[in-house]
Symmetry: C2
Amino acid sequence: MGGDFAPQMIVKGAVEASRESGARLLLTGQPERLQEELALFSGTDHKVDILPAETFVPMDASYTEALRRNSSTSIAVGLEAVRCGEAGAFISAGHTGAVVGNAFMNLGKFSGIDRPAIMALYPSLGGPVAVVDAGANVDCKPQHLRDFARMGSFYLEEVLGVQAPTVGLLSIGSEPQKGNKLTLAAWQLLADSGLNFVGNVEGDKVFSGECRVVVCDGFVGNVVLKMCEGFGQFVLTSLERSIASDEAGRRDDNLHRAAKGLQQALDYAEYGGALLLGVNGLCVICHGRSDSRAIVNAVKAAERGLAHRVVEKMRLAAEKWAVVKGTEGAT
Amino acid sequence: MGGDFAPQMIVKGAVEASRESGARLLLTGQPERLQEELALFSGTDHKVDILPAETFVPMDASYTEALRRNSSTSIAVGLEAVRCGEAGAFISAGHTGAVVGNAFMNLGKFSGIDRPAIMALYPSLGGPVAVVDAGANVDCKPQHLRDFARMGSFYLEEVLGVQAPTVGLLSIGSEPQKGNKLTLAAWQLLADSGLNFVGNVEGDKVFSGECRVVVCDGFVGNVVLKMCEGFGQFVLTSLERSIASDEAGRRDDNLHRAAKGLQQALDYAEYGGALLLGVNGLCVICHGRSDSRAIVNAVKAAERGLAHRVVEKMRLAAEKWAVVKGTEGAT
């Protein structure tokens, strides 16, 4: 029920994903509305069913309002299915705050992790780069950034097979003494973390791929995510205008093909959503503007996470991180 | 002497700018080194002279180190020329922290403004957008953000002729209750400021041009500036690779022309540097990687500011802001 094009595009994406991989998908939400959409895809070539939910969280609901409705919403019903083992993962293009808050309450967080965080994967010239936190925690403490780095690093190593991923602290200069109060304090914790910490990195390093895990507080992580989205849109519109204003360019197939290729490279739908790390269940958070292709890619991201049992493994790892944290005072 | 391609590109840019507009330019720095570069441009078609400075601030100097050298550096000598009226504006592609710190100490700040701030102009579909602060103040108080908004708004109105510019607060959602501690507190101050405040804006709104002044703390402003720079580079490299991998594309002039057009649209050198607002003198801060074209555009930005007497006018305006602030406690 969540997202700007819900439920149409969500249902279409679920059917397409099920057809592609054979995955069984449950649609949580108002059964009549979902049945109406699902009826458009008759046949036995997909395994998409409905898991009824009485209400849903409107996209413009406040955080407190979103959580007050709790157990009857499509988000809460979906997360409950994960908690009780009926579903392996939860995917939503709905209200991010409601997903994070409900996941925190219903699934619970790892021991050893104070703050679950959103990991967004960015394209880069050196392969996918994980930016953590992309929006779950607006005001952070230094140790939260260290935990984000641990989770992001663990994901890249386990799921994407990156050996000892380089970890950078998003800041305003590469020198350790550059940054704000938060990053200045987080620097030493990261240096002592045992991770492959490369120090402060500036924003341009995200896209060069020199660093595969980039940590920041969720305010900064969310601002840059949306900034890049807007910039991508600006670039495409500028390119389209430039093509349209050029007589020869308008009739040029190569040019249109290149523009389409660029559009694809910049399209968030290609990247399969962001993962909520640190809770006892696999949660994929999709863009509010998700179309069916974005949902198909989100299902793939969930399948990848399940195949690597990343939640179970990360939970075990986090328990050891907790032990290390517990002895910090004594060293 | 400052910048990755100094002094070659700085001298070349100064000569080109002087040839174009007839401006008189003073190069501050080691006279022998500058004379050597200047000798490459003989003739009487430019008015570029040398103002000697014994030392300069290395690009990798720490902030405290940069300020300790103080009066003998090319930055300090240039700012002193502005202070005593020998020069109308100061332009630097050097150490940003040193420029900000020296400007603060040598020129002094406006009464009514606690924190001078860097204003970066971004391209957008609706004309240039001012992002303040782009890096002068890493940890800010709510009233600083209100002051940034006032200065940015004043500049757009006076220099770019934008009537009552729309002002947005960079945050993670458009609703007033979304944000971090700083933005939540700044929201009301901006709403009460008398500016054309449109509320919170997300990063994508910077490039759509729906909002012409975007305020944020200098940590966030600097991170997004560099992030966008890296993203622009990523887009261009992706497009070039896509063209190179396509047999027909490689031989297509239209495609290469479109790529060049896009490169130009994304090139920081086109935007003439950032302005340091709130100090008693016009300071243009250029990108460290400035080439001669960036310097030419920075000179144009300085000339525009001088033609509009923006520093004098903003200083007078800021005195009135101070009066309003002074009565805040009583209201």
